[in-house]
């Protein structure tokens, strides 16, 4: 589903170059819940931005659902971001002058979904994160935890198969952070692929797979948490029964 092949992201800073990603090869399967960990500046966000089609690698290939992303134009990438990917940011990134409901509607607007259906889906997503009663509030009227829930609802509303979360608990207290994590876990159980960035080992342990990055390279990978599906044989090292079951049945639950 997600496959990076020898990917580099190099920034040229005058004389010296910064290798934010320095040759990463990585595969993440459908319905995995993977945590990317590493020190500050190790290249986690850069990696996720490439996975999220927000950034393009300097070198190397990236296949998303079997398609070569490097060959896509801006609009095709935008389409991918809108339909396949859902983002949860550390800073929530809600648009301050739009109400909670309008913020959640945004991905659907760009997919051209008619207003009535859009509002219905947005309200349902807000209900799912337990914040539907605030739908007419402005983001500034919500607490940090509530805003993060809104941003999760926004990430979910278009029913994307992959959810990318860059330090989703970073700005939250530990109890709220735990709630958010549990929510992500339940989404994973429903069949979503989740990639989570954190530098907190406690948070990472909630994921079934842990990928450690240092200086733009993968230095440790706990391995696939779900078996390869259908055609390709199972060469993976680990795999939980639960994950596999979710992989097999989960998509129907959310579809």
């Amino acid at each position: 589903m997600i496959r990076l092949e020898d990917v580099y992201k190099i920034y040229q800073m005058g004389e010296n170059e910064v290798r934010a990603i320095d040759g990463i090869t990585l595969e993440i399967r459908e319905n995995e819940m993977a945590a990317i960990i590493g020190q500050s500046g190790s290249g986690k966000s850069t990696c996720m931005n490439i996975i999220g089609c927000l950034d393009v690698p300097t070198q190397g290939k990236y296949f998303l659902n079997g398609q070569d992303v490097s060959l896509m134009n801006d609009d095709e990438l935008a389409d991918f971001r809108g339909k396949t990917l859902g983002f949860i940011f550390q800073q929530y990134n809600l648009i301050p002058k739009l109400s909670v409901l309008e913020n959640v509607e945004l991905p659907l607007i760009y997919q051209g979904i008619p207003e009535k259906e859009r509002i219905e889906l947005a309200v349902r997503a807000l209900e799912k994160v337990g914040i539907a009663d605030k739908k007419l509030n402005m983001p500034s009227q919500l607490s940090g935890g509530q805003q993060q829930r809104v941003s999760i609802a926004r990430a979910l509303v278009g029913n994307p198969s992959i959810i990318l979360a860059d330090e989703p608990t970073g700005a939250l207290d530990s109890r709220t952070g735990r709630e958010v994590l549990e929510f992500l876990q339940s989404l994973n159980e429903e069949g979503n692929t989740i990639i989570l960035i954190t530098h907190d080992m406690g948070v990472a342990e909630k994921a079934k797979r842990i990928i450690r990055i240092s200086d733009g390279k993968i230095v440790e990978d706990s391995g696939h948490s779900v078996p390869e599906q259908i055609e390709v044989k199972s060469y993976e090292r680990t795999g939980s029964i639960k994950g596999a079951a979710a992989a097999a049945f989960g998509r129907e639950g959310t579809a």
């Binding site: 927000l54 801006d74 971001r81 809108g82 983002f87 990134n93 760009y110 997919q111 278009g158």
Partner: protein, 391 residues
Amino acid sequence: MNFKQSFRLAIKSLKASKMRAFLTMLGIIIGVASVIILVSLMNGLSQDMTSRFESMGTNTITVNVMGRGTNRTLSVDEVEQLVEDNPKYLDQYSPKVSASVTAKYDVNSVDTSVIGVNEYYDDMQSVVVSEGRFIQYIDTLRRLKICVIGTYEATELFGGADPIGETIKLNGSTYTVVGVLEETADSEESSADDVIYVPYTAATRLANSASIGTYYLTAVDTDRIEETMTIIENMMYSVFDDEDAYRVTSMSEMIDTVNEMTASIAMVLVGIAGISLVVGGIGIMNIMLVSVTERTREIGIRKSLGAKKKDIMRQFLIEAATTSSAGGVIGIVLGIGAAYGAGAVMDMTVAPSWNAVAIAFSVSVAIGMIFGYFPANKAAKMNPIDALRYD
């Protein structure tokens, strides 16, 4: 992103910063308002002039004899003959002899113009006498020194007294007042009320010229004015044998000329006012660039949620167009208001043209789109990750 949503957003951001929105729109407001004011006043002016000419009769044809290079003149008998020969085309005629005079009564005196005419003139030019009578055939025949005065002269020379039967001095010769005209222009100086009519036979003496340079003729049918003019021209050519020695003009021709003139003056003025629209467009471009920078992060968020280039583009373009069309609407309202205000103060007819309003509105929308294009394109081209990182 659909139009409605973009429009709602644009209205929202206009409302959020009213002062800024107003300043942004100011150039457009001034531009549109001045275009509307100018068009309304010029339109009013041309309507005024047209109706003034029309009141002189659109069927009036003027013949001027310049007599250049020839001593031949056109006599009243020749003109009368022409009218009699063409009863299907020509109805009436009157010589017109103009002279500047000083009119005196008692110790009062005014400088004014005397017009020497015949007994048809009042009918031809819809001149109405309110007291006494107009000039008659016998007056011209006997070269009687009688006159019909305008209300300006009546008030200036006689105050409240009845002028009929009194004598006044025109350049020293004594004339008897036989009639007073109806007031048509508030008895103001140099208006239609400031005039003295005398028999043309008497006027030639006041004008110090034996020959008559101008004749008025009325056509029977306004629709056949061209043919009528041709008949007159043919006769004139047979008399003078030189096209430059005379001129035949019709009121309707003059109305056309005046309309053309006011239209081209209006074009120039509107063009000048249009510069302010361009300045307004630059103002919009400026503020849109600021707004794009301010909202870089928002653009990044939208792109991360699947917004395509054209979605971002449309959002900013609609915002620019909304801003400038709001300015356009305000400008139109202010412009019409100011035009009526100015019209009242300057005592001018005001005629806002709905065409001009429609054009002003579409031009202001277009200005927003044109000048909003550059900032919108800048926003649309932003790299999502750079935009997201911006703060």
